[in-house]
């Protein structure tokens, strides 16, 4: 492929580019989708294409193409240059520059023990049909659906720094859910474990079939449960639930492009300011967040981001203090930072890379023996929430409201009865500062998120979060009712 990347980079340089890169992306996908007892989809997708990104006089141009010939590559680079010159008509106050990054020549392949594309589709379909059948055989279950998605992502990135990267990653994304109906109520329950950078071994490990009937029982349990309590009370949240809470209220607010106002038209901005780094108490002393783009199995562990930055791990919140932001080679210099921390990714060959949430997780508590039961034992009145449900947050990432997938009342230190339709509402830093206990590391679990939407036109990105069970004091519960 180097003959093509050389053509692109030379054409870009001839057009006056101070920086340019070419990214060739091949993506192979396999999907199987079952609804009730019907195999709705079984397919494979193969797509390939490339893009050329050029920076001329501090303005960006980007063009993509699917025809990989020397002539077409040169034309694509020339078109990117034309677009960069058009961008200069509405110039940045400070012309864009790229933070320096070392030249990297590397070939890497991510974890995949069992090639998912070699596993027969019939086996995948049978697995899902067994799951939905197990769910539908439970009383009052009217709908069950399951999905398996496997992706092989192959990127070649070459840039004018002299880097040439050949990178391959595999992703496994399972989903299983069902709906129960009882006495005019309908509630859902299902797999909440998320996705992982892995092969088919991940699907075997999570054993959806073993849990399908249990989730179906719990869907009906929710239908017959009491409605949410209302008032100020404590919360104990499981790792799967917290994945979404931290995604929305820590991951997005610490993206530097939002902070700079670049997402103001759609995804929104952030209450965080660059000057808060190092002196803003984001959470209580027990709250520690780490951005780790080399996390094993992490959906954001791509070896190098789409800026060609080698990925690594860094603290985001330390003892409750905000100590970092997620940035790119373009955003870092704007606030005077010398280097990018590798948070720039694109969801395809036809989209420019943008500032994205890294793998971001909450560190477990320091007391290894502190268990979820211990956290519940410390609550007089509260709610225990498992999994993800309703979620909504304002455009500055302050006011949020979350639901969940399963709820239990906590009274006098014990889980007493199931609940339904629970939501809680808080402001971001009020919430994280109300955190008073985090279970030990043996209860820490990762959760891969495959569907983070951001950018215009919309790009969908993936990253992994993680946490141990965690307790929060005095949160407003039950504000959302008809």
């Amino acid at each position: 492929m180097k003959e093509f990347t050389d053509v692109a980079l030379n054409a870009a340089k001839d057009a006056g580019a101070t920086f340019a890169d070419m990214r060739i992306v091949e993506e192979r996908q396999n999907r199987v989708y079952v609804e009730r007892k019907s195999l709705k989809l079984i397919d494979e997708t193969e797509s390939s294409g490339y893009c050329v990104r050029v920076l001329i006089d501090g303005a960006w141009g980007f063009a993509s193409n699917t025809k990989l010939t020397r002539d077409e590559v040169a034309k694509t680079a020339e078109r990117a240059a034309v677009i960069a010159k058009a961008s200069a008509k509405v110039p940045k106050e400070i012309p864009a520059v790229m933070a320096p990054e070392a030249k990297h020549i590397d070939t890497r392949v991510g974890p995949c023990e069992e090639d998912p594309f070699a596993v027969p589709n019939a086996e995948k379909a049978e697995l899902l049909l067994n799951c939905t059948n197990a769910m539908l055989s439970q009383p009052n279950i009217v709908m069950a659906y399951g999905y398996l998605q496997f992706i092989k992502l192959h990127r070649i990135i070459a840039n004018t720094d002299g880097s040439y990267l050949d990178l391959t990653n595999y992703f496994a994304n399972p989903m299983l859910n069902c709906y129960a109906v009882d006495a005019g109520e309908s509630q859902s329950r299902g797999f909440q474990g998320g996705a992982k950078q892995a092969g088919f071994e991940f699907i075997r490990h999570i054993d959806l079939e073993a849990n399908a009937a249990k989730w179906a029982e719990e869907a009906l349990l929710k239908c017959r449960a009491e409605d949410t309590p209302r008032g100020i009370m404590d919360l104990v949240l499981d790792p799967m639930h917290l994945a979404l809470t931290m995604h929305e209220s820590v991951g997005h607010p610490t993206e530097l492009d939002r902070i700079l106002g670049w997402e103001a038209n759609m995804a929104g901005r952030s209450f965080v300011k660059p000057e808060m780094v190092g002196n803003y108490k984001y959470g209580s002393d027990v709250v520690n967040f780490t951005a780790n783009n080399v996390l094993e199995g992490g959906l954001g562990s791509w070896f190098y981001d789409d800026d060609g930055v080698e990925l690594y791990s860094f603290p985001m919140v330390k003892d409750g203090m905000l100590v970092n932001l997620g940035c790119t080679r373009e955003t870092a210099p704007i606030i005077g930072w010398e280097k990018s921390n590798g948070c720039c990714r694109s969801d395809g060959f036809d989209k420019p890379p943008i500032n994205r949430i890294p793998n971001l997780y909450m560190e477990p508590g320091t007391d290894d023996n502190l268990s979820p039961d211990d956290l519940i034992a410390g609550v007089d009145k509260g709610v225990y929430i498992e999994g993800m449900g309703s979620f909504s947050i304002d455009q500055m990432r302050n006011n949020f409201q979350f639901g969940g997938d399963m709820f239990w009342m906590i009274e006098n230190g014990r889980k007493t009865k199931p609940l339904k339709k629970v939501t809680y509402q808080a402001q971001t830093t009020q919430f994280w500062n109300s955190c008073d206990a985090v279970a030990g590391k043996k209860w820490w679990q990762p959760h891969g998120v495959m569907n983070c939407g951001k950018g215009e036109p919309m790009q969908v990105m993936r990253m992994t979060h993680g946490a141990s069970w965690t307790r929060f004091r005095n949160i407003a519960v039950g504000g959302a009712q008809l």
Binding site: S38, L39, K40, L41, I42, D43, E44, T45, E46, S47, S48, G61, F62, T66, R79, I83, A84, A86, S87, K89, V90, P91, K92, E93, P120, A122, A125, V142, M143, Y179, V181, G184, E185, S186, Q187, S188, G261, W262, A264, N265, M266, F271, D350, P352, S390, S392, I393, D394, Q395, M396, N399, Q401, T423, Q425, E456, P457, G479, A480, Q481, L482
Partner: protein
Amino acid sequence: MRTHEEIKQLLEKILAFAKPHTAQIHYSWDNSLATRFGENAITQNMSGESENVRIEIFNGLRKGSMVTNNLDNESMKKMIEIAVKMSKDAPEDPELMEILGQQEYPDTPKSFFDDVIQLTPEQVANDAKVVVEGAKAKGYKASGLFEVSANISAIANTKGLFCIEDSTNVSYSTTVHGPMGSGKGFANHSSYADLDIRKVADMALTNAEMAQNPADIEPEDYTVIFEPAAVAEMLGFLIWNMRARDADEGTTVFAGKLGQKMVSDKVNISVVIDDPEIPPAKFGEDGLPIKALPIFENGVLKNLRYDRFWAKNTGNEPVASIFPLAMKGEEQSVDDLVKKCKKGLLVKNLWYIRYVDRRELLLTGMTRDGVFLVEDGKIVGPVKNLRWNESPIVFLSNIVAMSRPERVDSNAKIPGIMSEGFTFSSKSESL
């Protein structure tokens, strides 16, 4: 860009490669220019073109599919070979429907305009500049997206079906931030000639100016006046729940409601196929022709969306698509609604809407880019953003008055609505 005839020939060639198998080919082509700006400068500027083919091979009740953007002969033959193998290995699907033969498609308004595909990056940049210059003059910051796109879709199969359609879309959306509030402007058309950049820029700049220094307000039930964009955001969740099978199984708010009055008798929503402002796609599922269809008539639920299998199973007509949707309004403007409001909130936009409970269709979300207190028929001033928890069924049941409908996107023409008793539950300091 291939001509319709060239696309037909391409699909016929692929079907010939697939012989003797039963096959259906879906074709799509997209071309777009997208210019993003933020903080008064272009931050991303991109162009691209893509062409995809989905090959479906049918083997009794079994099916295999392959999708690729490599359309050369060797690739097509390889894809067919894999799809054939897939169709042999797959379990039987008791709900798999046979492919359709040739259908008759209605005459629909023009949906493809050459002026869109002729736009250059320079023209798009110049248009982006209009709102940026306006924002700079006021000391404000503009951000936005100007995207123009063209699309062609086609389906062909071994039973003789061939259908093709093309469309263009021009979407200009901008948010202007002052130090203490923001305003939005947007427009969406099929043709570039219909786009009035100055009007969009003025809308965003005026809204931003009006929204500065919002006052505190307590969350409670208010009469609201939603502009058409806000109404459309909320109605989307109503429409996405209209699968007949889900209603028959009892998982949606429409369970047992077909033929019943669900909302105010002012509510008339239908799929329209003859409005040149929102030209429809000619076909939907498997090449089924689009048809006009009433959804709500005087508040009564008239139709739900039956897919081909569920229609056959229940003895109903399948529905190709429930878009584009038009909701009838009343012969007045949003300003007229304000004049009729004794006390309420004028809401420009909604944000981050999600289900709280799907069965009840209870939703939550935020207001965004301008909320204004209205008293005695006049706007008193901006107020801070609020979180709401409400159902579109309640919202449509409590309608007091509506404005003239307008196109909010390629799929919807919607009026502004004044409705009573809308529930706000918490405050936000976010501007």
